[in-house]
């Protein structure tokens, strides 16, 4: 096991280390052109998703690749994991996991009884975060280039101890210029 410094902070900048699971061909494209395929078009949450680098990050990225294989997006046995540095000005970074924000979200949840009827199967928790980010950016005329959020680990990712650690941390990078490729590793079973 190697120690990884997953966050470097200066007076104005944050450099975060993230891990992204994809196909080998997509990884080669990214290495060649430095362009990531964002997950969707015109959506608030749209961006490149990275797991925060730690002992479980590669497994989480691999599970995501395997999930996409099962869904027919990628061919089997051709997975790759991309390691990258994500450099962002602190003022363009939104940490949705900050305890202060979580507390405020808790108060909101307690005072909005309709949240009891959220449909987990429809992804309403994620949709609620999306509503929040859209309103935040619109009202205050700001654009978060990177945000941090805990998202559930992909299906069949049994190694990650959610009950011990909570959902894993992810970075959503919405400005690709923040991404600096470090290395690519093939996923081997």
């Amino acid at each position: 096991m190697t120690d990884v410094i997953t966050e470097v902070e200066t007076a104005t900048m944050l450099t975060l280390k993230g891990v992204h699971g994809t196909s080998r061909s997509a990884a080669q494209e990214i290495a060649q052109h430095q362009i990531f395929q964002k997950t969707g078009k015109g959506r608030v949450g749209t961006g490149v998703y990275f797991w925060r680098e730690n002992i479980y990050a590669k497994e989480l990225a691999s599970c995501w690749y395997e999930y996409r294989v099962r869904k027919g997006y990628f061919k089997p046995n051709e997975g790759a994991v991309i390691y990258a540095d994500i450099a962002v000005n602190k003022n363009d970074f939104l940490d949705l996991e900050k305890p202060l924000y979580k507390d405020a979200l808790g108060i909101f949840a307690m005072q909005q009884p309709s949240l009891e009827h959220l449909d987990d199967d429809a992804g309403d928790m994620g949709a609620l975060y999306n509503v929040f980010i859209e309103r935040l950016e619109k009202n205050f005329n700001l654009k978060c280039r990177v945000f941090q959020i805990r998202i559930p680990s992909p299906p069949k990712c049994q190694t990650y101890p959610t009950s011990l650690l909570g959902n894993p941390l992810a970075y959503v990078v919405r400005d690709e210029t923040c991404i600096h490729l470090d290395k690519i590793e093939e996923i081997r079973k």
Binding site: Q112, L115, A127, I151, P154
Partner: protein, 85 residues
């Protein structure tokens, strides 16, 4: 935007969302079900392929839950068979 201003913006946005009526908030959530974040939360609920799907809240009446061979059903509709798996 500095961190202090960001904190105020977060609080103000949540206050604004708090002021929404339940129907209005629900309608907005439904509109965002096609977002990436919603998809990621939804995917986590997919116990696809050979994975057994846990029953919805309310127990085994949905027909998705079969009692274990000894007929036992645990609280919440979780069967002994599910626990073993």
């Amino acid at each position: 935007m500095n961190q202090k201003t960001m904190e105020e913006a977060v609080q103000a946005t949540l206050a604004e969302m708090r002021a929404l009526g339940p129907e209005e908030l629900h309608a907005e959530i439904v509109k965002h079900r096609n977002s990436d974040l919603a998809e990621l939360f939804r995917i986590a609920r997919e116990f696809d392929d050979n994975f057994m799907r846990f029953p919805p809240r309310g127990g085994p009446t949905s027909g998705q839950v079969k009692p274990a061979s000894d007929g036992s059903v645990l609280p919440g509709g979780v069967t002994a068979e599910m626990v073993e798996n």
